[in-house]
């Protein structure tokens, strides 16, 4: 497996990609951009972006498309889905929550925002299995979406007051007499700095700063009588810190931007090639210099030479949600789309149950997505999507008509749409039936990689 030489050359790595004779702006790069930054794109979007070039394509992903998959404007669709989210009641089933999100992922005009919402769901991993309150989980999801491409410090501040998070981390009652260290520990270890970048004393003092924070009747509230108003020393700074002071203290640590940029690198560049501190440093600087604007390092990554380097393509294993949502978007199964609830259950069978990450550290990802059972379920999903037996998922994709609509021979069409340069369409041999061609491509090892 080739490793990109750019990994050892941070300046060139993060410099904007400029297409040239050796590295042209081709379908493989366009599809790579959409696979990583969104959930794969339909043929017409790939062709449009192929024509428009990398700058316009990346900008459009950052800004979002004008129209959603159901034909409404992006704002109308968001308003509709927001109102459906607001209708989630305490009796909503986990499948309903998952379905609402999957439905949005499939049809959204803002796939990068949903990609980042999923990224933050894995980062601030919180599970319904313990929170047991669908309304709180939905509110957290709304928060993650609202701040997905916004300011990280602001997001950290709202997450620190999010009832679902506090229930999840047993931090619903932070009393002066007995400071609860759970949230303080996780916020440093998993959310901002990473292990080894803080001391036990920092955790104890941060826990004191967090006293007085309670969840009462499913709402965050601060009880002054329970707050330890004494002086605390955190990361070498001393003051009478309160809960609101913690985000500022955390992002002021240089390790914070490095830790987060390391995670962004693994999400968008490679989960196989470990980045050197020197490679992450310029990205972290961009993040810090922007005042922790999440879109700043993202823009740098998505426009970079490294992102479009051949050697980083397929350096990630697609998650079940990537497979499910990406396939449906690529195959244009949008009007009607599939049963979002059935698809959510299918993702669960493949190992990714939304709103229920396995631990506070989120899903393991990478090769952990691939095992015998998961592969069998990935194949079953492909067969269901292209078949007619499964009424909830199947019967909505006419593989022959789709290739014909775009005027491309089916073997070439499904290779170019789904795996591009990963293999030559000729290896599909004698398979001619479009549905069989599509199924075959969807079940190849290459298609399992992002």
């Amino acid at each position: 497996m080739n490793t990109s030489p750019l990994l050892d050359d941070p300046t060139r790595a993060w410099a904007p990609f400029a297409p040239g004779a050796k590295s042209p702006w081709n379908l493989a790069r366009v599809a790579h951009l959409h696979r990583r930054a969104g959930f794969a794109a339909p043929w017409s979007i790939l062709q449009r972006d192929l024509k428009d070039g990398p700058v316009a394509s990346v900008d459009r992903l950052l800004k979002g498309e004008a129209t959603s998959g159901d034909g409404q404007t992006a704002d109308e669709f968001d308003t509709l889905l927001d109102s459906m989210n607001a209708g989630v009641g305490s009796d909503a089933t986990p499948t309903r929550l998952q379905g609402l999100w999957i439905y949005r992922m499939i049809l959204t005009a803002r796939p990068l925002r949903e990609r980042m919402t999923l990224f933050w769901h894995n980062h601030f991993a919180t599970s319904l299995t313990k929170v047991e309150n669908p309304v709180l989980m939905q509110r957290q999801n709304d928060l993650l979406r609202e701040h997905a491409l916004g300011n990280f410090q602001t997001m950290l501040a709202v997450i620190g007051k999010d009832p679902a998070m506090l229930v999840w981390l047993d931090s619903t009652a932070n009393r002066k007499a007995k400071p609860n260290e759970n949230y303080a520990r996780e916020v440093m270890e998993l959310f901002t700095l990473g292990r080894g970048r803080y001391t036990e004393k920092d955790i104890q003092e941060a826990a004191r700063a967090f006293t007085g924070a309670f969840v009462v009747r499913d709402r965050y509230s601060e009880l002054p009588a329970q707050h330890d108003d004494g002086s605390k020393t955190i990361f070498g700074k001393t003051g009478r810190f309160k809960p609101d002071d913690l985000p500022g203290l955390l992002v002021s640590q240089p390790a914070c931007a490095e830790f987060l940029c390391g995670k962004l690198y693994r999400q968008f560049v490679s989960e196989v090639d470990a980045p050197s501190p020197a490679l992450i440093a310029p990205l972290a600087k961009v993040f810090r210099d922007s005042g922790y604007d999440i879109s700043a390092p993202l823009r740098t990554i998505l426009r970079s030479n490294l992102f479009f380097d051949d050697a980083v393509r397929r350096r990630r294993v697609k998650s079940p949600v990537d497979i499910a949502v990406g396939t449906i978007r690529a195959l244009e199964i949008v009007k009607p789309t599939v049963s979002a609830e059935a698809l959510a259950e299918s993702c669960g069978r493949m190992g990714q149950t939304l709103y229920a990450p396995p631990s506070v550290a989120g899903w393991d990802g990478g090769t952990a997505w691939i095992n015998t059972t998961a592969m069998l379920n990935r194949t079953n999903l492909a067969l269901a999507l292209l078949g007619t037996d499964n009424a909830q998922i199947g019967g909505r994709c006419d593989a022959k008509a789709l290739a014909a609509k775009h005027g491309v021979e089916s073997r070439k069409f499904y290779t170019d749409l789904l795996v591009q340069d990963a293999f030559d369409s000729k290896i599909l041999g004698l398979v001619k039936e479009p549905a069989e061609v599509a199924t075959l491509v969807l079940t190849t090892p290459e298609y399992q990689l992002a």
Partner: protein, 590 residues
């Protein structure tokens, strides 16, 4: 006006034949066919008045609903439909008629479909189409053959129609699975030439004891009225004889079915035949099913299910906002006494536990004699909408209220009090469980209405943070309540429903002639769905993948169908000779 011949002519011709002949099994007025059907035929179906059926089906209102049903709407948009329609239009034009008039002429006399079978032999059947205009049948038949042959010729294919002759009548085979002939001005279609020949033999004076000589058939036939669009008779005894494994109902079915339907299952197990009919007028769609009772009578244990002479279920209750109402005659005390004969030993063991458990709530009374024995045989269940505007808090998902109304026997003074105490005990137990699960508890309250004291409960409401938008759980639809009104005891899921039921149960219940009556109001069901419209749309989008407009369209269709179905009534009448089931829709005009 010149006729434009479609390009895919052969497909169209065959489509036309298929459409014109085979699906016509749905339509049939004094049709021929019974006289050519053996008295031992296992299935006899007759579309007596195809014209009536056609009028109903082609009614614009019905067509509108039909076209809104997604699979049918998809079919209407499909290439197959367009091709078939073009074929039918093409052939109709050649015959100088419209497809509707063509069908009326071809099958207006009625349609008969019969299946005969013998043990160890493959079953066979035939369809007999009696035209209202025999000349048109001859003309259409000749034209279709001409088209099929002409089409094959232009393609250089062999003659697709194989002809043979039997008793001077021509048989035509267009595939190995279909042969037809015109016999006595009637079109006979069957799966084989041999079958058609058998029909010809019978028509040409072959000796046959026809089904028309069967007294049961004749009795059913005599009931055919002007709005009977179809009726049929199935010989269950013959089916059991031919394939016992498939058509014999086992002695022991599941306890739920036994508890609810034992005599009707017994009748179906032993009945020699079952008959059904469908009547369709402007105002009503009525289906009747008749099962004869066992020739030697029911077993002693099953007899406990049947109302004695002069007894029956009372008329269903119709309080304000009723959605559905059920009234059943069941002597549960008598059934309890014969439980060993009705249910499996394992199930009877489970019932023994119920006996012990129930005793604890009813002062140690025996479940059979002390509890069930204190209740009369009239059981009434009501489902009704609630006044959601009066609820506090108003639940997000709005559900109807449910109530069970039982009549207490007059000679057991303290049983009503026992029921109330049992209700309070259940509430106490529920609260204990809720406390352990950190779930909201029920608060006991009491309310007097027109001199009746209602013991009621309501779920505690969690205090919300000021200004917070709070979701209200569906549990707040429920305010479990009980009340005694004269000798009636009401157990209801809702305080509002129990208040509405008080005047209704005080009215003297009208006797009926049925064991079971169920009524449902399509408009009321539509109403309850309509108040949950937004949730249903979300559900549709999540479960079917529709967008909002398509989901809303499907919900509107469902509401429209419910309103069209109007007032539905299902009755089951246990007679000496037969059990009669009747499903009647008073079709809504809205």
């Amino acid at each position: 006006m010149p006729i434009r011949v479609p390009r895919r002519k052969s497909a169209l011709i065959w489509s036309a034949i298929a459409i014109a002949l085979v699906p016509l099994a749905a339509w049939a007025d004094g049709p021929r066919g019974a006289e050519w059907t053996s008295k031992d035929a296992v299935i006899y179906l007759e579309a007596s008045h195809p014209k009536v059926l056609l009028d109903r089906v082609l009614d614009p209102k019905f067509q509108t609903y039909l076209a809104s049903i997604p699979p049918y709407a998809r079919y209407l948009k499909s290439d197959v439909y367009k091709e078939q329609k073009a074929g039918v239009t093409f052939v109709s034009a050649l015959l100088e008629t419209t497809w509707e008039e063509g069908i009326r002429s071809l099958a207006g006399g009625g349609i008969v479909f019969a299946v005969e079978a013998e043990k160890g032999k493959a079953p066979w059947g035939f369809i007999a189409l009696t035209p209202s205009d025999p000349a048109f049948l001859t003309k259409a038949h000749a034209k279709l053959l001409e088209l099929a042959r002409g089409d094959a010729k232009t393609k250089g294919q062999p003659d697709p129609v194989k002809e043979s002759e039997h008793q001077g009548i021509k048989l035509y085979s267009m595939s190995k699975d279909a042969t037809h002939a015109i016999v006595n001005d009637t079109l006979i279609v069957s799966q084989s030439a041999e079958a058609v020949k058998t029909v010809i033999d019978r028509a040409r004076g072959g000796k046959i004891a026809s089904i028309a000589t069967n007294a049961d058939w004749k009795a059913r036939h005599d009931r055919v009225s002007a709005d009977t669009v179809a009726w049929g008779l199935v010989r269950l005894d013959r089916l059991r004889e031919i394939d016992p494994k498939k058509f014999t109902i086992p002695e022991m079915v599941n306890p739920g079915q036994t508890f609810l339907f034992a005599p009707w299952i017994e009748a179906a197990r032993k009945a020699p035949w079952v008959a059904a009919s469908l009547n369709w007028s402007d105002a009503h769609l009525v289906a009747n099913v008749t099962l004869p009772t066992p020739a030697n009578g029911y077993s002693q244990s099953i007899k406990t299910y049947l109302p004695p002479k002069g007894m029956s279920a009372s008329a269903p209750l119709r309080p304000k906002g009723v959605i559905a109402s059920l009234s059943l005659w069941r002597d549960l005390s008598a059934i309890w006494e014969v439980r060993n004969d009705l249910f499996s030993p394992q199930f009877v063991q489970g019932l023994a536990q119920l006996d012990t458990f129930a005793g604890q709530f009813f002062g140690g009374r025996d479940f059979g004699s002390g509890i069930l024995g204190a209740i009369s045989s009239n059981w009434r269940i009501v489902v009704a909408t609630q006044d959601y505007s009066k609820m506090n808090p108003v639940p997000d998902l709005k559900l109807p209220g449910f109530a069970l109304v039982i009549d207490l026997k007059p000679d057991d003074d303290d049983f009503a009090q026992r029921l109330k105490v049992a209700f309070q005990s259940f509430v106490g137990l529920a609260n204990l469980g809720a406390a352990q699960a950190k779930a909201p508890s029920l608060e006991l309250i009491s309310e007097d209405v027109n001199g009746i004291t209602i013991a009621s409960t309501r779920f505690m409401v969690s205090k919300a943070a000021p200004g917070a938008k709070v979701s209200v759980h569906q549990r707040h639809n429920f305010t479990p309540s009980v009340a005694q009104v004269d000798n009636h005891f009401i157990l209801s899921s809702s305080l509002g429903l129990i208040k509405d039921l008080i005047p209704a149960v005080r009215e003297v219940a009208k006797p009926t002639d049925s064991t079971l009556l169920i009524e449902a109001e399509g408009a009321a069901i539509a109403g309850i769905l309509d108040v949950n419209r937004q949730r249903l749309i979300t559900q549709n989008m999540m479960e079917k993948g529709n967008d909002k407009a398509a989901a809303g369209g499907e919900i509107d269709l469902l509401l429209g169908l419910l309103r069209y179905a109007g007032h539905g009534t299902l009755t089951a009448k246990d007679g000496d000779k037969a059990v009669d089931f009747r499903l009647d829709f008073a079709l809504g005009a809205k």
